[in-house]
Amino acid sequence: MALLQISEPGQSSAPHQHRLAAGIDLGTTNSLIASVRSGVAETLPDLEGRHLLPSVVRYQADGPVVVGHDALAAATEDPLNTIASVKRLMGRGVEDVKGIGEYLPYEFVPGSSGMPLLHTAAGDVSPVEVSAEILRVLKRRAEETLGGELSGVVVTVPAYFDDAQRQATKDAGRLAGLNVLRLLNEPTAAAVAYGLDKGSEGVIAIYDLGGGTFDVSILRLNKGVFEVMATAGDTALGGDDMDRLVADWIMQQAGMKADAGHVDMRRLMQVARAAKEDLSSHSASTIELALEGGTTWKGQLSREQFNLLIAPLLERTLGPCRRALRDAGIRAASVKSVVMVGGATRVPLVRQRVAEFFAAEPMIDIDPDKVVAVGAAIQADILAGNKPDNEMLLLDVIPLSLGIETMGGLTEKIIQRNSTIPVARAQEFTTFKDGQTAMSLHVVQGERELVEDCRSLARFELRDIPPMVAGAARIKVTFQVDADGLLNVTAEEQTQGVSSSIEVKPSYGLNDSEIETMLRDSMTSAAADRDARRLREEQVEADRVLEALHSALAADGDELLDEAERNAIDEAAKRLEEQRGGDDYRAIKRAIEAVEKASSTYVERRMNNNIRKVMAGHKLDEFKPS
């Protein structure tokens, strides 16, 4: 692979080996892993042929962590140590989980960074760690099935996930030892799974009603490019809410009290869910609920009655649909087709209402439970570099505006929602006191005017500002959102060109050192193993850098570099090659940095050259729409 080389089709430099890649749908209720094998993307089953892994983790006092079906089976007998629906807690604060906590029987203890921990028999665990347990099981499944180590994965998130929720998901991947190539929005993944990039043009909607989240995306397709125009949703609305409505109805009918015990509540939820699923294919469902103390309640729920119960919930999903259409600047009539995602879209009334709203027949050919993982696998295969000639490209957006807190608790929008990512915005700040050397910034996400109505993402502490009179310093703060939708903030004092150091305090997340600690704790291995892992990581990066550099130099080194520049690069490369053979990972790292420094002007020149080539390579009339 060449340094930013835009190779012409059929001219890709070296034949490169197939890399194992997978797509992971880390769901509220179930999780899946899929991979492209012999050109076909498919979900991978466990040894017993089951594709869905229940997103349930059980912690035991003296025993291993149990994930999946066995954990789900123990949920009734051991509800406090069996964590389900952990996705709802990702990136959430202690206050947030109180709102959700009503139906979650777990014991929460406040952790550091404002993140709640779940108290279990095996100690306190964070939602990130619980999710990492699920990911580890999927990773193992894929590596055993595919017969090798995964080089990278794509993990999906609801399009409407905010920065904290995305970051938590990525952290979980890192903690599970995965190389997360990209966080991909679930609806975009579904569009990819349907192969809509092939030949299809026009606007489509993706209606995604998952277990715990709802979102809708409006996409424009054009020659293999998926351009997300707008996305909207509700992260606290999902199929589980239907179960709850049914459960409430049963409680009413059965005369159950609201303070029923954990065990009864678990059973009730299971029975309610079964009734909902039953009603997708039957006009009525018979319900039997065995209660603690030996009594049993029996009753029947008709589909009409069920539809009445869930109708208000469906209407709540249409608000975001209207919002997304409006943000995309189009009318429902322009939508060509609607892709249905999420188990809850099996409910007939959901399909019916969505079809009515968009006046388009919903697409339901691919199993709505698997469609997201399949799309993620296709994207992972491309990102891993296995399909160099593939034309598909996904252009996604940031779902919620980013802002900073200003005087009086008001927010000032820095980056508008539905901006295509990656996106950046620079803002200048100044000091208000003489000799001031530090300032703090509070970054929030959301659409509301008041800071307290938005989600607090992080507080940034800017330090090392050169002391000057009030108002003289000009601190340029750059807010960069990357292709995963994650925010990164940098600051520089303009008048003296000093980089201010930034300390990030995520409001509901983990900072880097906490992740490092967890990584350390999660590895039973000794320090020597850890160093071995780091050495291997640096060696892989060194190979990557050297390979890229050599093929770039072969292509245009003579053209773009003078002798002195060339010598400096060769010298740095030679040192890196020497270090690469050694066993000091720090030295390799330093040598990589030296190569990057020596070649940075060169890379820049190639970059500009290549951009020019992309533009110049086409004659004007080639671009004209046919």
């Binding site: 692979m1 340094l3 930013l4 835009i6 890399r19 080089s151 990278g152 190539l181 990209r182 054009n222 020659k223 490019v225 209407e315 249409l318 608000g319 209207r322 919002r323 409006r326 491309i382 990102l383 891993a384 570099g385 034309e391 490209l393 996904l394 252009l395 901006s419 295509t420 990512i421 990656p422 996106v423 950046a424 960069q480 990357d482 292709a483 990066e541 990557r544 850098v545 890229a548 990057e596 070649s599 940075s600 890379v603 820049e604 970059m607 500009n608 290549n610 951009i611 992309v614 533009m615 110049a616 086409h618 004007l620 671009f623 004209k624 729409p625």
Partner: protein
């Protein structure tokens, strides 16, 4: 650091510096540039390449947003001509414009009291769109003339367009509210 900020957004997409932009051509070139530079193309590349690709893709997105929107494009052209566009400095003294603003605003406030609110709102939204289109065609002439007086007029048109945009936003927001209320 490696991102080239001296390139104008027009150059970035191989377009002539003009208010008159062929939007289909811009779309095509936007997609071609992102195909070449998007971070997804460098998911397995070195850290340095990934960083540069992100910077480039960010600039391509920024340029696309600016060039495809007449208001942002106009402001950008003024900026390239060495004029700073400052909302505060262009307070408007055009009486007709101010009157129409007030009229439209009143009409918007009254919409809820009208029998067929949606139809009334539709009329208002269309009127605003017409006003914006008229300003845009004026801008085309002003920028192609390019002299100091024309650029003053362009700055004035852009201020007006900004007002209409804000009204348009409010009107659309109101439409959404009415739809949500109608749905219950």
């Amino acid at each position: 650091m490696a991102a080239d900020h001296s390139t104008t957004h027009f150059e970035r997409f191989g377009l002539a510096k003009s208010f008159d932009v062929d939007l289909d051509l811009l779309d095509e070139r936007y997609r071609a540039s992102q195909r070449a530079m998007h971070p997804d193309r460098f998911a397995n590349a070195t850290d340095q390449e990934r960083r540069i690709s992100m910077q480039q893709a960010t600039l391509i997105n920024e340029g696309y947003q600016i060039l495809k929107d007449p208001l942002k494009r106009g402001r950008y052209l003024l900026q390239l001509a060495g004029r700073s566009f400052d909302d505060e400095h262009h307070t408007n003294s055009d009486i007709n414009f101010l009157m129409e603003q007030m009229e439209l605003r009143e009409a918007l406030d009254e919409v809820r009291n009208v029998a067929d609110a949606f139809a009334e709102l539709g009329v208002i939204i269309e009127r605003i769109a017409d006003d914006i289109a008229r300003l845009a065609s004026g801008l085309q002439q002003q920028f192609s003339a390019g002299d100091a007086d024309s650029l003053d007029l362009a700055a004035d048109s852009l201020t007006k367009m900004q007002f209409y945009r804000k009204l348009q936003e409010e009107a659309m927001e109101l439409e959404l509210e009415l739809e949500d209320e109608l749905a219950g």
